[in-house]
């Protein structure tokens, strides 16, 4: 086993735990990425990576990024559900890397709903 692999993990853990210590960890929203078979085939992994990357770049740490199974919207995968505060959830479709970054910059940061990739409002 590579020693480095463990060391690096330890570093991630330390950094992550330092982040949350002494801070309010309540989240103001969450983003759900559909990672079922259809989503994966359509590139949901890259969507997930881009979302995390853009949120981090914008220093947003109070929005959780989670994964779910198939949302049953195979035709429009990758799909992403965004829920901020008590607003009704919004589902976006065909969310590639570029759209993922747009969701962070427009919806999460400014509250603008992106009507061109909107699939649905409210729970599926």
């Amino acid at each position: 086993m590579k020693i480095k692999s463990l060391e690096e993990l330890q570093k991630i853990k330390e950094k992550a735990l330092k982040e949350i210590s002494g801070r309010d960890t309540k989240k103001r929203g969450r983003i759900v990425v559909g990672m079922g078979t259809c989503g994966i085939s359509a590139g949901a992994k890259d969507t997930l990576r881009a979302l995390a990357d853009e949120l981090e770049k914008q220093s947003i740490d109070d929005v959780a990024v989670v994964q779910s199974g198939c949302m049953g919207l195979c035709e429009v995968e990758p799909t992403v559900e965004v829920q901020i505060g008590d607003e009704e959830p919004v589902i976006y479709g065909h969310v590639d890397e570029e759209q993922a970054r747009r969701i962070v910059k427009e919806h999460v940061m400014k509250g603008h709903i992106l009507s061109d990739i909107l699939v649905k409002r409210g729970k599926i």
Binding site: K2, I12, K13, A16, L51, L55, G69, M71
Partner: protein
Amino acid sequence: MRTIADHVLDIAQNSVNAQATYVKINFVEDHEKIVIKIKDNGCGINKEELSKIFDPFFTTHEEIRRVGLGLPFLKQNAELTGGYVHVSSTPKIGTVLEATLFKTIDCQPIGDLAGTFAALVTSSTGVTWEIRRCLGKECYDFSSKALDGVDLSSPKVIKMIFEYFKNMESSL
């Protein structure tokens, strides 16, 4: 599924869907073949169902909108290379999947394995993941035990884990 990495992500999610709390993935590659082994402690598969798991559209998860194409796709792609997929399972104990793909002209590209591992590890908090990845003689090991207590839904953490696996892959 365009890549082997996509298959691994898809197949390992079967273990999560089977309520596994422990999933071990071995991904061992050499110059002629790729051997994938995924072992879980999920609900397992009974004999009758086991005979159907490679049938397209067989699923026991209809209520959660599954299509039942994960295993048939993998089998088809493995067999195209002269390889195979084998699943053995004991109800209430768990399931072991082993797949061998030969690196023939028909073999799909491996794809973004780092992304697959990162996505799996950050997909749910209830699962302990152990991953062993080898390329030739070089290997690395991952255990999610090392990340106990870390918030896996934090964008920053997700990003670090994506980078971690990317670094590990490029060190091989």
